[in-house]
């Protein structure tokens, strides 16, 4: 591992690194032991509190149905929000003010409002003006809220990606006689999306986590909401339940990000010759910190 930020390490620096590592590991071990001891003293590690997660009962009654709903809502929101975000991102770059300005207003507005409140409004709208059954309504409301918010964030990401492309790309496209639409769809957008993939993926992770908001107030039975009836049934094993659910979220989101970086490498491999690809991180910081409301 070399970097432009520091020189190659000599023997002294290497020895120092070994020392750092040992000290760190000892400190970590001590910390873990202390946490383990305190948890044990307070009876949080009692077999009774963790036993439910070994059997199948807790999984089939609470966790798996919740996980299924989380996945459905997240997948639907992603599939709708991605193209919508691209459309708004492009619309904000339009030459026509009557397209550009409304798109900007919509994006700025929905980015500013907490997602939870968008969901509450969505729920009320579906109840008032549609004949969606009350069983499906929470899902619709959750997806609506997530789509409105995340599409506007994704729009900003796409816009940043397009703006960050070298000017030569557009100029060359115009020079060979492509129209504006053609330039956008066959030259700029593919490159921008590839370049922005890291940022887009962190937004998708945000979508997965934000489904949990639906559980908090709309009684959308997703994964995090499953903790409440589960921990009350198994004798207030709150810490155990939250730990299990947190691990599921980490695994879920980690596989999502791993898949995305694999995809990114594949997309990037064929592109070496063009030289038009941005370093991913050059524009990859547009992620938002996982808005939870």
């Amino acid at each position: 591992m070399t970097s432009v930020l520091y020189d190659a390490q000599g023997p002294r620096a290497k020895r120092r690194n070994v020392l750092y590592t040992v000290v760190f590991l000892v400190a970590l071990a001590a910390l873990l032991w202390w946490v383990y001891k305190s948890l044990d003293d307070k009876g949080q590690l009692d077999w009774e509190k963790w036993k439910p997660f070994v059997g199948s009962e807790a999984w089939t009654t609470y966790i798996l149905p919740g996980l299924k709903n989380t996945l459905i809502a997240a997948a639907l929101s992603m599939v709708i929000a991605l193209p919508l975000g691209a459309v708004f991102g492009i619309a904000r770059l339009s030459d026509h003010a009557w397209i550009r300005v409304p798109a900007a207003v919509v994006v700025e507005f929905f980015r500013a409002i907490p997602v939870l409140i968008l969901m509450i409004f969505g729920n009320a709208l579906f109840a008032q003006y549609s004949n969606v059954t009350s069983d499906d309504r929470p899902l619709y409301a959750v997806v609506t809220g997530l789509v409105l918010y995340n599409a506007s964030v994704l729009a900003e990401i796409v816009r940043a990606g397009i703006l960050a492309l070298p000017k030569g790309q557009t100029e060359a496209a115009h020079a060979i006689g492509l129209r504006k639409t053609q330039t956008m769809t066959s030259i700029l957008l593919p490159q921008a999306v590839t370049a922005m993939l890291p940022a887009i993926v962190s937004q998708l992770v945000v979508i997965v986590k934000d489904t949990a908001l639906g559980g908090a107030i709309l009684t959308f039975p997703e994964l995090l909401a499953a903790v409440s009836p589960m921990s009350s049934y198994y004798g207030a094993n709150v810490i155990a339940s939250f730990t299990v659910v947190a691990v599921i979220y980490v695994v879920l989101n980690f596989s999502l990000t791993s898949f995305a970086s694999w995809l990114e490498q594949r997309l990037r491999r064929g592109k070496k010759s063009t030289g038009a690809v941005l370093a991913p991180a050059a524009v990859g910081g547009t992620e938002s910190a996982g808005t939870v409301v």
């Binding site: 009962e57 599939v79 009350s134 999306v193 009684t219 921990s231 207030a236 995809l263 997309l267």
Partner: protein, 278 residues
């Protein structure tokens, strides 16, 4: 050429998403097949042992038993009931929109709520109380709660009562669920958990907690649990009749004993219909 790869990738994502939703909708239909024709949707709590609790075997608790009895009198068998979770903040809107026919979910009758919905009952008179560790001796009256560590559910009426009236100097912790409070109580990080005695008794009756907790028995407020129905609904009279029968034929007492018994909960006698104690 690059575009094609992006398209292919998005096609995979789309396909995954669609298959996920497809499974979802298939499963959903399974639940409603049996029972033959008409169904009744009833709102209950899903996370309150002793009152309304989702369990691997179905739903259990006093509210659930009352709801089952009333539904039976209205002409619905158990398998025709569709249980829905009705969180506290959601109850009025669920009734107004007609998502559920009636709600039995620790629903106290209050003047504000009566402006929005109608109540049948009351069917249980509960009081705000505290749950203490079994070895706790220093809390003997509500005023002892001052300077103690108290826990309740975020924004709930019980939490506000403590803060405003009962023990303004109490150190109040608020959590989203009673279970979180309870684990603090077990850890001795919290001295007392306060809410309706019926809810507390439900928790204390759980097998895991046998002998670990006790009720304070303070009767700090009156909570008249009613069955919420849509404003102007003709169900109110029918439910009232069903509730009277439930008390008369002993099912009411049996349900109380089954759900709160193990906690040593001294329940109030069955309230008279329409007798709302303030």
């Amino acid at each position: 050429m690059k575009l094609r790869k992006v398209t292919a990738a998005s096609a995979v994502v789309l396909a995954l998403a669609l298959s996920a939703t497809a499974c979802g909708s298939n499963d959903k239909k399974d639940g409603g097949a049996s029972g033959g024709g008409k169904k009744i949707a009833i709102g209950i709590k899903f996370d309150q042992p002793g009152l309304g609790q989702k369990t691997p075997q179905g739903y259990s608790g006093f509210d659930v038993d009352v709801a089952k009895y009333v539904a039976k009198k209205l002409g619905y068998n158990e398998d025709q009931i569709e249980w829905k979770e009705s969180k506290s903040a959601d109850r009025e809107t669920m009734l107004q929109r007609g998502d559920v026919e009636f709600i039995a979910a620790t629903y106290s009758i209050t003047p504000e709520r009566e402006k929005k919905v109608d109540f049948a009952g009351p069917y249980l008179l509960a009081h705000q109380d505290v749950l203490l560790r079994a070895d706790e001796t220093s809390i003997k009256s509500p005023s002892d709660l001052n300077n103690k560590k108290l826990c309740s559910v975020t924004g709930s009426t019980s939490a506000q009562n403590v803060h405003d009236k009962l023990a303004p100097k109490a150190n109040l912790q608020q959590y989203p669920t009673y279970s979180a409070c309870l684990s603090g109580l077990q850890n001795k990080a919290i001295d007392a958990l306060t809410t309706d005695d019926s809810i507390l008794a439900g928790y204390a009756s759980q097998a895991q907690f046998k002998g670990k907790f006790k009720l304070g028995g303070f009767k700090m407020t009156n909570e008249n649990y009613g069955i919420g129905v849509k404003k102007g609904s003709d169900l109110k009279a029918k439910i009232n009749k069903a509730l009277e029968e439930m008390v008369a034929d002993g099912s009411w007492q049996k349900a109380v004993a089954a759900n709160f018994g193990p906690a040593g909960y001294k329940n109030e006698p069955a309230p008279k219909i329409g007798d709302v104690k303030s």
